[in-house]
Structures are given as structure tokens and as C-alpha cells.
């Protein structure tokens, strides 16, 4: 082993986000400018509260640049909005966690969408390393249960 780097990542690559979302049961709807939610901000969603703390305006909830919709979407289901990050660094997710949003929160990994972030990180890695000539596979680490991308090159 030569080195080990760890850290957090930002979402910038819409193609990788699409791959990640599909693995979790969503379809990316590019250019969709509104996402389905309760329709009125009641300060009862951690995602919404965090966004307000960081400078988002309640009147902008429901607006987005792209959206994630459940593959088996039914009338009344909520959606996830994809919007520019409030600090200008990449993209962020915005959705209503209340009511119909419980299911979304569970699927993406809570307020911080850690499951979606994990899938996104692996999708970015697989695409990049394949472009660098590596043979790329996915596996589950039997000890930790973590999903991994393994890249090999002679």
C-alpha cells in the first residue's frame, strides 16, 4: 500500500449523480424546475431548517434546476430538488422530509443524504479510473459491509 486519503466530497457531476440515484431507485429529471413537496414551509424538516440557516429563502422551496423522482412514482409522492449549493460549491439536495418525504429520507440516507453521497462518490471514482485505463469492478467489503470500487492496472 502506498497511501490512504480520506475526506468529504461535493456533488458536481450530474452524470455521476444520475448513476448514483438510479442505484437507489430514483430517476434524474434534468431541467425539471419544480419538485413535489408539501407546498408550504412549516419549519418541520431538518433539510429545510439547515437550508434556511445557510441562507436559503422559504419562498424558493419547491424550485430547483433538476429533480430526483422515485422510479415507481405515484401521485402524492414527494420529489428531491437539485439546486446550486448555497456556498456556490457544487450542488445540493432539497426535499421535504415530512409526510411523504420520510421515504425519500430513508432512501437517500437522512438529512445529509449519506447513502446517495456514497453512491455518487463511487460512481465518480468508477468513471474516472476507467478513463485512466483501469479495469474497474464493484464489490462489498466482507468485513465492513462497505461498497467499494476496485481498480486494477498492470
Amino acid at each position: 500500500m502506498s497511501h490512504v486519503a480520506t475526506g468529504t466530497c461535493r456533488i458536481h457531476d450530474l452524470d455521476a449523480l444520475e448513476i448514483a440515484a438510479e442505484r437507489l431507485g430514483f430517476e434524474l429529471r434534468r431541467g425539471q424546475t419544480e419538485y413535489a413537496w408539501f407546498g408550504r414551509f412549516l419549519n418541520d424538516s431538518a433539510v429545510g431548517r439547515d437550508a434556511i440557516k445557510q441562507g436559503a429563502k422559504a419562498e424558493d422551496f419547491g424550485k430547483c434546476d433538476h429533480a430526483l423522482r422515485l422510479k415507481n412514482h405515484k401521485s402524492g409522492d414527494y420529489e428531491i430538488g437539485i439546486k446550486p449549493a448555497l456556498d456556490g460549491n457544487g450542488l445540493r439536495l432539497e426535499y421535504d422530509q415530512w409526510g411523504a418525504g420520510h421515504k425519500l429520507a430513508e432512501m437517500v440516507g437522512g438529512t445529509d443524504a449519506t447513502k446517495l453521497q456514497d453512491e455518487y462518490n463511487l460512481a465518480v471514482a468508477a468513471r474516472r479510473l476507467a478513463r485512466q485505463g483501469y479495469k474497474v469492478t464493484r464489490r462489498v467489503n466482507q468485513e465492513t459491509g462497505e461498497q467499494q470500487v476496485v481498480a486494477l492496472k498492470a
Binding site: M1, H3, A5, L152
Partner: protein, 62 residues
């Protein structure tokens, strides 16, 4: 054989490299880290990294 293993858990990514000589592993993961917009929390060089650097330095010396 060069190997790069990328894991992600709880939103945090971990990149391990194996089989590289010296600092080649750092160059090889630069583009990946840029694509990920990785904000590093740690970056540890393993014994193999230092061993390879010493071996290369000794080779140049001789």
C-alpha cells in the same frame, strides 16, 4: 499490478493505493480527488510509500 480501492461510508470517501512506487500513487489519484472535489481530512503515506522512495534514492546514489 497497481490497485486503487475507493470506499465510501456515511458520505466519507477513502482512497487506498497499492503497488505504486514512491510518489506515483499521489499523481495517479490527483484527477480522482479533483473529480470528487475531495476535502481531505487525512492523507497517510504508508511504509511501502517511504520504502519505495528510499529504494529509488539509493538506486540513484549508486
Amino acid at each position: 499490478m497497481k490497485e486503487i480501492i475507493v470506499s465510501s461510508k456515511g458520505g466519507k470517501v477513502r482512497i487506498e493505493t497499492k503497488g505504486f512506487k514512491g510518489g506515483a500513487c499521489l499523481k495517479e489519484t490527483l484527477a480522482l480527488e479533483a473529480d470528487l472535489h475531495l476535502e481531505k481530512e487525512s492523507d497517510e503515506k504508508t511504509p511501502e510509500y517511504h520504502q519505495a522512495v528510499v529504494t529509488e534514492a539509493e538506486h540513484v546514489k549508486h
